[in-house]
Each structure stands twice: as C-alpha cells, then as structure tokens.
Symmetry: C2
Subunit: 210 residues, 2 copies
C-alpha cells in the first residue's frame, strides 16, 4: 500500500527543491531576526543559502510569503517539541512553556526574529501582523482557560481582571523578558522568571519546593 496521504505533499515537488526551500527558510529566519522584515534583503538571504535570488523568488514568490513561511516553520518546530509532552495538569502546562523558554535560549536568533516582528507588526498593514496576532492569541487562550479553571478551584483569587486580560499580562511579561534578555545579555534568566511568574499568577506557590 504505497498510498499514504500523510507524508505525501499536496503539490508535486522534488527532494532537491525541498532541501533548498528549507535552507532558504533557515537563512531567512536569521536575516529577519538580525535586520527585521524591511531591513533584510532577498539577495542577501539567497546568497547565504547558496542560491541565486531568482531561485528564492521561484520558491516563495515574494518577500512577504517568505516571512510567513519562516514564522510557520518556527511555530511548527515549537509545537512539535512542546505539545506532545504537555499533559493537562496546570503543572504540566507550566513546565511545557518553561521548556519552550529554555529551548529558546539555544536559538536566540529566532527569539530575536519574533520579538522584532512582534514590535514591527504593531503598525497596521504590516504583512505579518495577522500571523503575530494569532500567535499571541493562542497563548492567551491557553492561559485564560487555566486562569478560569484555577479561579473555580479557588486556587487563585479574582482580582477584577478578566481571564483574557490577565493572560495577556502574562504573555506580555514573557515577550518583554525576551526583549530585555536580548538587550542585556545575562542580566535575567528568562526561563526562571517565566516559571516564577507563571507559578505566581496561576496559584502554584505553596509550602513546597522553592
């Protein structure tokens, strides 16, 4: 039965092309991280990837499509490594996100990319605005659900903030920490401070382990 639709790509493509596309995305991620969307150039990305810039154009069509491909690839990586290990306990969710933060430490370029894009995409009309908004929304939804749960359990008290706004505050702190860390390397321990923030905001602080 060679007919498996899982691994088969929808549009026809050759193995060589897929390799090239991957290489371009990797270099594009680095370039966008360093110089932002406007500052990075397709020619520079193509040169680093070892191909002509016309080849890049053939695969992605235009600069915006390349950017969206990079974001999609990055999120897919994150999801692939963190979601499977996440059970549905509050502790499990916290551990999973702290794990993401720890793994981010190994790829500062990607963190830099997302931070720069998040800030850049604050302007209406930015090509990645919708994608970045959705990225945040996913996190907010998860945290808001947990906050609701914890309030029902009485583990955390209602402070007059809606769960969504409270969740947005948590996400903002995380994002802000990443920006701060990039600007002041070594001054803060992002995973540790994220863990501390999550444990506090989700009511996991107790008489147990410090």
């Amino acid at each position: 039965m060679p007919d498996r639709q899982d691994a088969v790509p929808r549009t026809k493509e050759y193995a060589t092309g897929r390799v090239t596309r991957r290489a371009i995305i990797a270099e594009a991620a680095e370039a966008f991280a360093e110089k932002g969307f406007h500052g990075a150039s397709l020619r520079g990305i193509a040169r680093e990837a070892g191909v002509d810039h016309a080849t890049l154009m053939h695969h992605f069509g235009n600069k915006t499509a390349l950017l969206l491909a990079v974001i999609e690839w990055h999120d897919a990586q994150d999801a692939a490594t963190s979601l499977p290990a996440m059970d549905f306990t509050v502790e499990g969710v916290v551990d999973a996100f702290v794990g993401v933060a720890e793994r981010n430490r190994a790829t500062p370029g990607l963190v830099q990319l997302l931070s720069t894009l998040s800030a850049e995409a604050g302007r209406e009309g930015h090509p990645a605005r919708a994608a970045l908004q959705q990225r945040h929304q996913v996190l907010v939804d998860v945290f808001a659900a947990i906050i609701r749960l914890r309030r029902d359990e009485g583990a955390v008290d209602d402070d007059g903030l809606s769960p969504e706004v409270h969740a947005a505050l948590i996400v903002s702190t995380w994002e802000g920490l990443q920006v701060y860390d990039a600007l002041h390397p070594g001054d803060v321990d992002v995973p540790e401070l994220l863990a501390r923030t999550l444990r506090r905001e989700l009511g996991l602080d107790g008489p147990l382990s410090g």
Copy 2:
C-alpha cells in the same frame, strides 16, 4: 543622560535651521516607528518633512545620528513632563510612571518607535543598542532602589530575586504590554495594568478598593 545644555547651543545656528531640524526629527520618529531603523529611508523622511534629503544630511550627517537624535528628543520630552512632578514617595514614583504610560497613549507612534528599536537593538552592533540599554538601565535603577527600600521597610518580602532582577522583570512587563497593546489595540489597558503591576510588586496593595 548626555548633554544638558539644550537652551544654549554650542555651535552657532539660525532659527530657520532649528525649525527644520525639529520637523525632520518628528518625521523621522514616525518613519522609524513604522518601518524600523533599516526600513525607513532618509529620502522618505526628508520628503515628509518637506526638505531635500541633502538638507537632512547636512543637519545630521548620517542615518545613525538621526536615529540617536530622535531617541534623545523623545527622552527629553518624557523627562520634561514626568520628572518635575515626581516626589520621592513610593506612591509618587508609581503615579509618575503611570502618568508616562497614560501620556504614551496619546503618541502611539513614539511607543511603536521605542518598542521596535528595543527589539531591533537586541542584535549586537545595532547603532541604537547602547542608547536603548541605557534607557532600560535608568528605569531598572529607579525600581531597584525602591524595591530595596520597601524590603527594608518590610512592605514587600524578599523572594530570592535581586532587586535589579526584580526591577528588570517590572520593566520587561511594561515593555511587553506596550508591544501587546500595539498588536492588539484595545485589548489591554496599559496604564491600568502597569499601575496594578507596580502596586503589587512594590507592596502598595492594601485592604482597600477592589
């Protein structure tokens, strides 16, 4: 804080030039906010300001110098409006910073500028990196001093974090909130959430209003 001699220019200059310089800085702030440092162009800024791009070059010499002039101008505005009203009580400091956040609401372009630059400047070698680091450092120093004070007073308990790291966490939250607000307009109330964060982190919460 660099030069404090705003009123008395060292080099001779005419009134017309000062007006032009101001106009250029205003447009540059908007352009850098929208497109980042790399994405904004000197010609575009000059066009918006109603002058030739050679005129811009005459006044600022190069793109980096223009960026630094914009940042310095922005900080000078902030300092001029918030510092005089700040007494040395904890409540006074909190009110002063919440006031800055409230005034920021009226100038989203400038907030966008600083957010974009903070994220961009995470890369070593960015022309505004040192300036942005110093901007953060000023805030961290203020908050760290207050945290130390409040710990001595017993108003806030030592949580194992150094005052500087705790202060950096506060600054990160503030910055993160501004980015979040730009990306999701209306979802969060930055001054309110900043006030809540400051009051909580600096031990100003009491049995009063919910």
